[in-house]
């Protein structure tokens, strides 16, 4: 690590800024009366970003493709969740399928 002072400043910026973001959403909500339609769009926005987070963490690594094993595991988990399998089964299946595919030589 090259410059401890700069790293401390970076961590402090990230921590304080993240707290401010977390606080401002709640503060705005208290001041603005949200019509049902806007509320629906904002809730959808959170789901859309989470879905994007699922897609990118499942399929990509850095700027490239993550390989087949991880998305295959997440796909199996998605099908199980869609068919209302217990949460435990869904998560363990994701890890197990990915691990088995890697054991079989697939990256």
């Amino acid at each position: 690590m090259k410059d401890t002072t700069l790293v401390v400043a970076g961590i402090a910026t990230l921590a304080a800024g993240t707290f401010a973001i977390r606080l401002s959403g709640q503060a705005l909500r208290a001041r603005i009366t949200f019509p049902p339609r806007a509320r629906r769009l904002v809730e959808a926005a959170a789901v859309v970003m989470l879905a994007a987070l699922v897609a990118t963490t499942a399929l990509t690594q850095g700027h490239g493709f993550a390989g087949l094993a991880r998305p295959a595991g997440v796909l199996v988990a998605g099908v199980l969740a869609w068919r209302r399998a217990p949460f435990v089964v869904v998560i363990i299946a994701a890890a197990a399928v990915t691990a088995l595919l890697r054991l079989a030589g697939l990256s």
Partner: protein
């Protein structure tokens, strides 16, 4: 907090516990990766407590380890964490006042928000939010510190498929929302946008670019209760 178990029921509590376990495991890999990248133990330890947002912390470590400016890395992390703004707007009043408000604000994360939104009424939303938020507040730094201590021992998390757990957890948690056809369409469009922009946008931005897909809902007739 003894009322949390009565309010939530066993099934939801088990789901929250398993989610926290997944967070702990990801924390292990985070701590180990940070130390392996040349950071001293206090960096993942302090970051995991004060930032408490995994994706942005991974990003910060990655950019600084690759030689990037820590302040630029912090800005990238803030872009990743911008999704907490609509989270705060979407949440009902779950935090309370005074120090509860400060702590409750700090434990706002993907998992606690999704568990809260999935509950049918305010008491259960509040209980789920706090149970998951406090669980993550313990498990994420706990995993990070233990991972940093173990160091290279858990380097091979990929052999056990543990990297598939994070997307699987989030996917399972948003599944109730995805049963709404219009939400599903917007979510799929958002996922495609994020994937298409990942090769050339800086890390974290593809998830924000996905927000364009919310426009698909602009003409939806209002049928919200």
């Amino acid at each position: 907090m003894g009322s949390i178990s009565r309010t939530l029921g066993r099934a939801t509590l088990r789901d929250i516990a398993l989610t926290c376990l997944a967070v702990f495991v990801i924390g292990l890999s985070y701590g180990a990766i940070a130390v392996a990248s040349g950071f001293p133990l206090w960096v993942p330890a302090v970051q995991s407590v004060l930032v408490l947002a995994g994706a942005s912390e991974f990003l910060f470590i990655g950019i600084v380890a690759a030689g990037g400016n820590p302040l630029a890395a912090a800005l990238a992390g803030l872009l990743v964490n911008a999704r907490h703004l609509p989270y705060g707007l979407a949440l009902p009043e779950v935090t309370g006042r005074g120090w509860r408000r400060l702590l409750g604000t700090h434990v706002m994360n993907d998992e606690s928000v999704v568990f809260a939104l999935a509950q049918p009424d305010l008491p259960r939303k509040r209980a789920a939010y706090w149970a998951c938020g406090l669980g993550v507040l313990i498990c994420w730094p706990g995993g990070a510190v233990l991972g940093a201590l173990i160091g290279s021992a858990v380097h091979n998390t990929s052999a056990f498929g543990l990297d598939a757990m994070f997307p699987a957890v989030i996917l399972a948690l948003i599944m109730p929302d995805l049963r709404n056809r219009l939400t599903l369409r917007a979510a799929l469009a958002g996922a495609v946008i994020a994937l298409a922009t990942t090769p050339f946008l800086p890390a974290g931005l593809p998830v924000l670019a996905a927000l364009v897909a919310v426009l698909l809902l602009a003409r939806e007739p209002v049928t919200v209760p």
